[in-house]
């Protein structure tokens, strides 16, 4: 009787251990997925495109901003030149190393800006136009499988690795097959949902996928949303002079 009980117990324990090992073996490497998401978004070559940013606020007419963007991710350089509206035409954001400068053609002055600041009063942040470093900034604290529309996704719960990352908690919906982000929720330190981002369309350029349409919804100010459409993407080499203050000044003459 005792032997039978022991056998059953051992068998159950063995099966459970094997099952948990199997489950662990099937668990995707989420850190690698984050790295892959970063890789797909970050260009090893130069990149340029035109971004159209449409911001909507309740009771106000939508504001439309068009901007030309130039990126050189390996050197952490990027330049945004505002093309429209006329009142902001010629304003620019230039990142050289870790310094982000804002240029105002009216005053002809450069001032310090930050990737953490909102782009032109929209719900998009300056960092949304730049390369991203999810794998470097976050650890995957939790995960689950889910479905977003017709796509099976990993729902990843990310916690910031240090206390200087803008959003301390981020939730990502990553499409399983292509490992691209379809949706993101950004939370405050007090864990209040601040912003939801949707990436419904991706375009392929070279071996990279980049979101060709993005929708940012402000969850604190109900009704505030910003849609970004990307056109004329190119990975052609860009001249070095683009990433200089002198160019921003010259382009306004």
């Amino acid at each position: 009787m005792f032997r039978k009980f022991m056998k059953t117990t051992l068998l159950t324990a063995t099966l459970l251990t094997a099952a948990s090992f199997a489950a662990f073996a099937q668990q995707p490497d989420f850190h690698r997925i984050l790295q892959r998401v970063d890789e797909l978004n970050n260009f090893t070559t130069d990149f340029s495109a035109v971004f159209t940013v449409v911001s909507e606020k309740p009771g106000q007419d939508p504001s439309v901003t068009r901007a030309q963007i130039f990126r050189r991710d390996p050197k952490k350089q990027f330049l945004i030149v505002i093309l429209k509206p006329d009142t902001q035409k010629g304003q620019g954001y230039l990142q050289v190393d870790n310094n982000l400068w804002f240029y105002d053609p009216q005053s002809r002055q450069f001032s310090h800006s930050s990737l953490k600041e909102n782009f032109q009063s929209s719900d998009a942040k300056n960092s949304d136009f730049n390369q991203q470093s999810l794998a470097e900034d976050y650890t995957v604290a939790g995960s689950s499988d889910g479905k977003l529309g017709i796509y099976p996704v990993y729902v990843l719960d990310l916690k910031a690795k240090n206390n200087e990352v803008t959003y301390p908690h981020v939730k990502l919906w990553v499409r399983k097959d292509l490992e691209i982000v379809l949706k993101a929720e950004d939370y405050s330190l007090s864990d209040r949902l601040m912003r939801t981002a949707y990436y419904p369309n991706y375009a392929k350029i070279g071996d990279k996928y980049f979101p060709s349409r993005m929708l940012f919804i402000d969850n604190l100010n109900t009704g505030n949303k910003t849609q970004i459409t990307v056109t004329d993407p190119s990975i052609a080499a860009l001249p070095d002079y683009l990433f200089t203050k002198a160019y921003l000044e010259r382009v306004n003459r």
Partner: protein, 433 residues
């Protein structure tokens, strides 16, 4: 001298009008000088209550990534230095603050929120006029006092819960919830500093420990001595901890802005402190006072030039009126300089009389204006002392004004006086004027 005084008395109406004109000029300049003199004191005193002191110390750390973090973790070295410096203090305040966005049902307002210990914050209570609610409501840890302008912008009522979007001390985004505990009168130009909350909750939102804070404020027994006291304290602190260099006012920047820039540009390890005074923060006020005083002087000079033209003409007329009298005095042996001095003394007495009259009138007007209670809920409250206009006159300014009036009056009378002195006694006696 007696003749000069008697001459003034001979034409009372004329002397009174001329003296009255001088008195009016003195009245205007004295009021402007007096108001400008009290302007800095009143604004400084009101601000010291709103900011929580006259001398302030901020602590800064640099994160490994180079980010500046505003924090004071252990203030024992600071409090010891205050004792060691021997500066006379009334009390010491501790505060943390953030600049963020207040949100209520899609309405937003940019606002600086100062977290302070409400059990000890009598200094704020004495200068905040509440339109709605009460200070007792601040017992609620999430309580906030906002200005009526911000309340109107957000469309909030007492007890409503508003959101605050801010960045923590290390730059992360955070959202807090506040309940409107009271609505204060908007102190006008400086309304953006008029939101107050509890220190503990502000610390929580900034993600700093409950015992930590960002700014230590010192209330001095004699607030006007803040610069001397700050220099003493700075020299003691410099020997104990890392300190940012104290900057002085330049034409292009004020000391506070210069020190602000230094905290961004310099690199250091550990905690580095910045000491500044209310005068450093309000350096622009000194420029306003300078402008007021210069404007006052220009007004005085314009008034006096007009008055001087009147005096010159009047003395010329007086000379012709007294031409036979001058001839008689000269014929009796009075020398030319004596005749000239007679006129000049008359002018000097006129200016002295006018100045005294002007000062008496100024004292009456200033007393009457001081008696009016404008209350604390006026946009001018920062310029007032407990709701009353005050005037601070410097002896040097008064003496300077008196000298200007005396010199210009004598100058105005000089040419008619010289002409009178040069009259030929025989011609003067023959004159039919």
């Amino acid at each position: 001298m007696m003749i000069a005084l008697r001459n003034l008395n001979r034409q009372k109406k004329r002397s009174f009008l001329l003296g009255g004109a001088i008195a009016f000029g003195i009245l205007i300049i004295t009021l402007i000088n007096g108001f400008a003199g009290s302007f800095v004191n009143n604004v400084s005193e009101n601000f010291s209550h709103l900011f929580g002191g006259q001398i302030f110390i901020d602590g800064f750390e640099k994160s490994p990534s180079g980010r500046r973090i505003s924090i004071i973790r252990d203030d024992s070295v600071l409090t010891d230095a205050i004792k060691e410096s021997g500066i006379p203090t009334t009390y010491i305040t501790k505060a943390s603050s953030f600049s963020g966005t207040l949100i209520f049902q899609n309405n937003t307002a940019a606002q600086q929120v100062v977290g302070t210990d409400w059990q000890k914050a009598s200094y704020v209570r004495s200068r905040l006029t509440l339109v709605k609610g009460s200070f007792a409501n601040m017992d609620n840890p999430h309580g906030i006092i906002i200005s009526d302008r911000v309340a109107k912008q957000l469309k909030v009522e007492l007890g409503d819960t508003i959101l605050a979007q801010l960045r923590t001390a290390t730059g992360q985004l955070n959202v807090g919830e506040f309940q409107v505990a009271a609505v204060s009168h908007d102190p006008g130009l400086f309304g953006s500093i008029a939101a107050y909350a509890n220190l503990q909750y502000v610390n929580t939102l900034l993600n700093i420990r409950s015992g930590d804070y960002q700014t230590l404020g010192i209330f001095l027994t004699q607030g006007e001595n803040m610069d001397v006291a700050a220099a003493k304290l700075y020299s003691v602190l410099k020997g104990k901890v890392q300190m940012f260099k104290r900057e002085t006012t330049t034409a292009s920047t004020n000391p506070f802005t210069a020190m602000q820039r230094a905290t961004q540009n310099e690199t250091w390890s550990g905690t580095k402190y910045r000491l500044y005074t209310l005068n450093d923060r309000l350096a622009e006020l000194k420029q306003i006072v300078g402008t007021l005083n210069t404007s006052g002087l220009v007004i005085l000079l314009i008034l006096l030039v007009v008055i001087m033209i009147g005096i010159t003409n009047t003395f010329r007329m007086i000379m012709y009126e007294r031409i036979r009298e001058i001839g008689t005095m000269r014929a009796l042996g009075m020398q030319r300089p004596t005749v000239r001095n007679l006129f000049l003394l008359e002018a000097l007495f006129l200016s002295l009389g006018g100045t005294v009259l002007g000062l008496i009138a100024s004292a009456i007007v200033m007393t009457l204006l001081h008696l009016i209670n404008f209350g604390l809920n006026t946009p001018l409250f920062l310029l007032l002392k407990d709701g009353h206009m005050t005037f601070d006159l410097k002896a040097g300014q008064l003496i300077g004004n008196l000298l200007i009036v005396a010199v210009l009056t004598i100058l105005a009378a000089y040419f008619p006086a010289r002409k009178a002195a040069r009259l030929n006694p025989a011609d003067a006696l023959r004159s039919t004027h």
